[in-house]
């Protein structure tokens, strides 16, 4: 029964950064991931990472852009920390070997990104996330003596002692199906987002909200769950992402009449306005009949305006995506895109040290809500969030563990219960109910229909009814695989439960927020209403086993809410 000072669940950027920080502080560390760490979804981040590192730039300017981008729902104390610590974090990565783009003088070079008043996005061609993730993994291999890696282990639930403190987790070894408990003085959730609750999504198949649901089931509050980012440029057909870097490099958007419609919606920043603004503009054009494509559901993104040499040097990956997944040579013709689900701003509520209200439980990265993104995340701020708050959580958990006794081993019955639950899943056959995959598809389609760029009470309520029915159906859903070795089928059934919890929390929060702010646009409440709704909405599991809504104040330090114009 392994025990460590710090147990980290998830090995994307947030998890790996936390592991390195905790090890550096002298803690014994375990890091666990349901896929090999370099397969984590952080590798998909193409565009880059923000920091005010240039002498002409300032962290205040970065912070202001972030606050404005969040539609004033971001907590300004957390945003200040993130933006202030960003430059050193970039240098830390650079010194560990990230192959950041250099300018002609051999210094770090930047590119422009949406919602930013300066070009402050650092990048590696268009494989930034991949480069960061692989370099951090190099460091994990280097520090193998201090950091135990559990690769291809699936966490099924968090362990709590009688006082409710988090003391580790229960996990299944995917390779052989064995269940084991891991005790730890501190546990850091870094298990990423929940995009798979939507269909289509830019998110990978593993982004199923596991950590969000596990924390919720353990009693931690979720926050800002209504804030779901729809990215302006995802492929019409399958939802794959075309990075914002394309617009940063000069690509433009056109409707079916060849009109550069962003002139109407954001005359100053045009295509580089905040993501919520651009996605709404596109959806408005589509809804008013000016879309392209067979059903008029698309918008044209013209990358040919970027010099070819620059495309091949800096946007190589989307040339491949256009070619392989849409059959379009983006260096020669425009590509058809539309807004698509991309990111969840909400998550497990934490403070700036990554602490959740449950003692011993931390969260960092997309699973968490600090909240630095508020109502809308700026492009290239998420990688930064994962690293800054991953590091802070790792360091804090290590310091807290110092001198603390190792928690008692949990009773053996805890593993037996979990095994029994999985065994009962395996016993269900086709007679018992629906297929897991069918339920998942229905969930994704319903969320994408009713809980997307434009929302209203009726649609959200309909969707909530669907989700509640699906939760019921999931209880009797069946799987085909009865084996223990790499039984991905049974893990899919467990993930379905997590996604349904996340979807429910999202819908409840979206229904509750009767205003329009950031990514939440209610057609029945089209205005922002600071008097009533300049506050966070939380969802926690009540004593009755039903979700309960609550509120949390927004921290304002220097920047008072203003009207948002791009």
């Amino acid at each position: 029964m392994p025990s460590h000072d710090v147990l980290i669940i998830g090995a994307g950027l947030a998890g790996q950064r936390a592991a390195l920080a905790a090890a550096e502080a002298g803690a014994t560390v375990a890091i666990m991931s349901k896929v090999h760490p370099v397969r984590s979804h952080s590798n998909a981040a193409a565009g880059g990472i923000n920091a005010a590192l240039n002498p002409e730039d300032s962290w205040e300017s970065h912070a202001y852009d972030t606050v404005k981008g969040s539609d004033y729902l971001g907590d300004q104390d957390a945003i200040e920390i993130m933006c202030r610590e960003a430059p050193d974090e970039i240098l830390w990565l650079e010194h560990r070997g990230v192959t950041f783009h250099r300018n002609e003088t051999g210094h770090l070079g930047t590119r422009a990104f949406g919602g930013a008043s300066q070009a402050r996005t650092y990048y590696v061609a268009d494989i930034t996330g991949q480069a960061l993730l692989h370099v951090l993994y190099e460091q994990l291999m280097k520090h193998h003596a201090a950091i135990d890696r559990y690769e291809e282990w699936f966490v099924t639930s968090l362990l709590q002692d009688a006082g409710g403190h988090c003391v580790g987790a229960v996990a299944r070894n995917i390779r052989d199906g064995a269940m084991e408990t891991f005790t730890a003085k501190g546990t850091i959730l870094a298990s990423g987002g929940a995009g798979q609750a939507f269909k289509p999504t830019t998110n990978a198949l593993i982004c199923t909200g596991d950590g969000i649901a596990q924390a919720y089931r353990a009693g931690a509050p979720l926050m800002d769950m209504e804030m779901i980012q729809y990215h302006p440029t995802t492929l019409l057909e399958n939802g794959f992402l075309i990075t914002e870097g394309a617009r940063g490099e000069g690509a433009q958007l056109f409707n079916k009449d060849g009109e550069r419609f962003m002139e109407k919606y954001a005359p100053n920043k045009m295509e580089l306005a905040s993501r919520d603004v651009v996605s709404r503009a596109e959806q408005t054009e589509i809804d008013e009949g000016r879309g392209v494509g067979p059903d008029g559901q698309g918008i044209l993104l013209d990358v040919t305006l970027v010099p070819k040499k620059r495309i091949l040097e800096a946007l190589r990956e989307i040339v491949n995506i256009g070619r392989d997944f849409a059959g379009v040579d983006i260096t020669r013709e425009p590509i058809t895109i539309r807004p698509g689900q991309h990111y969840i701003m909400g998550g497990v509520k934490t403070d700036v040290e990554g602490r959740t209200p449950i003692p011993g439980l931390y969260a960092a990265g997309e699973v968490a809500c600090v909240s630095v993104h508020g109502g809308n995340r700026l492009g290239a701020n998420s990688l930064l969030d994962t690293l800054i708050f991953g590091r802070r959580a790792g360091a804090h958990a290590a310091a807290r563990a110092d001198g603390m006794p190792m928690p008692a081993e949990p009773p053996a019955s805890r593993v037996r219960d979990e095994e029994g639950w999985i065994a009962s899943l395996l016993q269900r056959g086709p007679g018992s109910g629906r297929r897991v995959s069918e339920i998942k598809d229905e969930l994704g389609e319903a969320m994408n229909r009713h809980c997307a760029v434009f929302r209203d009470e009726q649609g959200l309520s309909t969707c909530l009814d669907v989700v509640r029915r699906l939760q019921e159906e999931a209880r009797s859903a069946y799987v085909d695989d009865r084996g223990t070795i790499f039984n991905q089928d049974v893990l899919g059934a467990i993930e379905l439960g997590y996604m349904l919890d996340c979807a429910e929390a999202t819908l409840l929060s979206a229904l509750e927020r009767r205003e329009s702010r950031g990514a939440q646009f209610r057609t029945d409440y089209p205005e922002r209403n600071d008097d009533e709704w300049l506050r966070h909405i939380t969802v926690s599991l009540g004593a009755s086993g039903r979700p309960e809504l609550g509120y949390a104040p927004v921290t304002i330090t220097s920047w008072q809410p203003e009207e948002r114009k791009y």
């Binding site: 979804h41 192959t99 210094h107 692989h134 190099e138 991905q488």
Partner: protein
């Protein structure tokens, strides 16, 4: 909608049965991926099919498999394309990758082979001294150069395709050596000499590659591992004078010079040239070692004494030399690199 047949090699370790073939029909558009085909079969017919996958977009490196015998990523191979290449009347044949033990169905043990080899090359930066206050100042070209090996997603496709690895499982292999170049070519790394010396002296190191191009062909990300291996060899012999056990680098040069001199390859001269000329001390034992091969060649009439001594292609040598002059007059030729686009520009200008 068109229908495709996937013929999947299955292996269920717990059943005690040997691997077997199973066919699945899926209705999907032809430009959908083989991965989507497999996932459709998994969702509709049999959830127990094992395949690692996540991103669906050739980024995470999970889904390497053999498709019709060639190593590919399932997620960036179109169904229609796979059918065209099918050797068995339109069935798409999907098998686990080569050179790694199979754990279940299409899932192989990457840890036992791929990751072990990655760990062999000290896969982290070894900077010299404390870091500067700000960034290291590094030429743009060097960063672009190593970014090609940074583009590797560790999918193992090259490992599966590598012929040397099949013969010599100890061979460090294409992915790990490409990873090694990521440090050797990085000006921030302080251990270039130690790294290339180590890889040159390991009998399963950089000289164990046979130049077969299989890894370049298999790599979905344009990392071109063989080119990275060639770069490692060049750094070893050109920059550090490290002796090449198989004499590969000198052989390469001798090859080029031989053609320049003779108009077409003059085999009889090649071997001594590779060792520094007929009278070079190393050439003598090598020539003696080669005698059995020469004798065999003579016996099978692959070599004729007349041709060996009088090179019949000599009369074209002037034209060939002209070609050489033309090429040499150009600037240092750009190397094949995904992120350096000199050739593309020339092509554009020519239009």
């Amino acid at each position: 909608m068109p229908s495709f047949t996937l013929k999947i090699r299955r292996y269920l370790p717990e059943s005690g049965d040997a691997p077997f073939w199973q066919e699945f029909d899926v209705d999907l558009e032809g430009h959908r991926s083989v991965l989507e085909g497999i996932l459709t079969a998994k969702a509709r017919e049999d959830g127990s099919i094992g395949i690692r996958c996540s991103c669906r977009a050739a980024i995470c490196g999970s889904c390497g498999v053999l498709i019709n015998g060639r190593t590919r990523l399932a997620c960036n191979t179109h169904l229609a394309e796979a059918v065209r290449e099918s050797p068995e009347d339109g069935k798409i044949i999907v098998e686990p990758m080569n050179n790694m033990p199979v754990l279940k169905d299409l899932i192989v043990d990457m840890d036992a082979v791929h990751w072990k080899k990655i760990q062999r090359v000290t896969p982290w930066l070894l900077p010299e001294g404390p870091p500067p206050e700000r960034e290291y100042v590094v030429p743009h070209e060097n960063m672009v150069d190593v970014t090609q090996s940074m583009a590797c997603i560790q999918c193992g496709a090259c490992v599966s395709a590598c012929l040397s690895m099949e013969v010599d499982p100890l061979f460090i292999g294409p992915a790990a050596l490409a990873k090694a170049y990521r440090f050797v070519g990085d000006p921030r790394d302080g251990a270039q000499y130690e790294r290339v010396k180590d890889l040159a002296e390991d009998p399963a190191g950089i000289y164990d590659c046979t130049h077969c191009f299989a890894c370049i062909d298999a790599c979905p990300k344009g990392v071109a591992p063989m080119s990275q291996i060639m770069r490692l060899r060049r750094v070893a012999s050109r920059d550090h004078d490290i002796e090449d056990r198989n004499n590969g680098y000198r052989h390469e040069h001798a090859f080029v010079e031989n053609i320049e001199r003779n108009g077409l390859l003059h085999e009889a001269d090649l071997l001594p040239d590779s060792y520094g000329g007929k009278l070079h001390p190393r050439a003598v034992p090598e020539l003696i070692d080669s005698l059995p091969v020469v004798a065999k060649g003579l016996a099978r009439r692959k070599i004729t004494p007349g041709k060996a001594l009088l090179h019949p292609h000599r009369r074209h040598y002037k034209d060939v030399r002209k070609l050489f002059k033309k090429v040499q007059a150009k600037d240092e030729p750009l190397e094949l690199n995904l992120y350096i686009v000199g050739y593309e520009e020339e092509e554009e200008a020519a239009r």
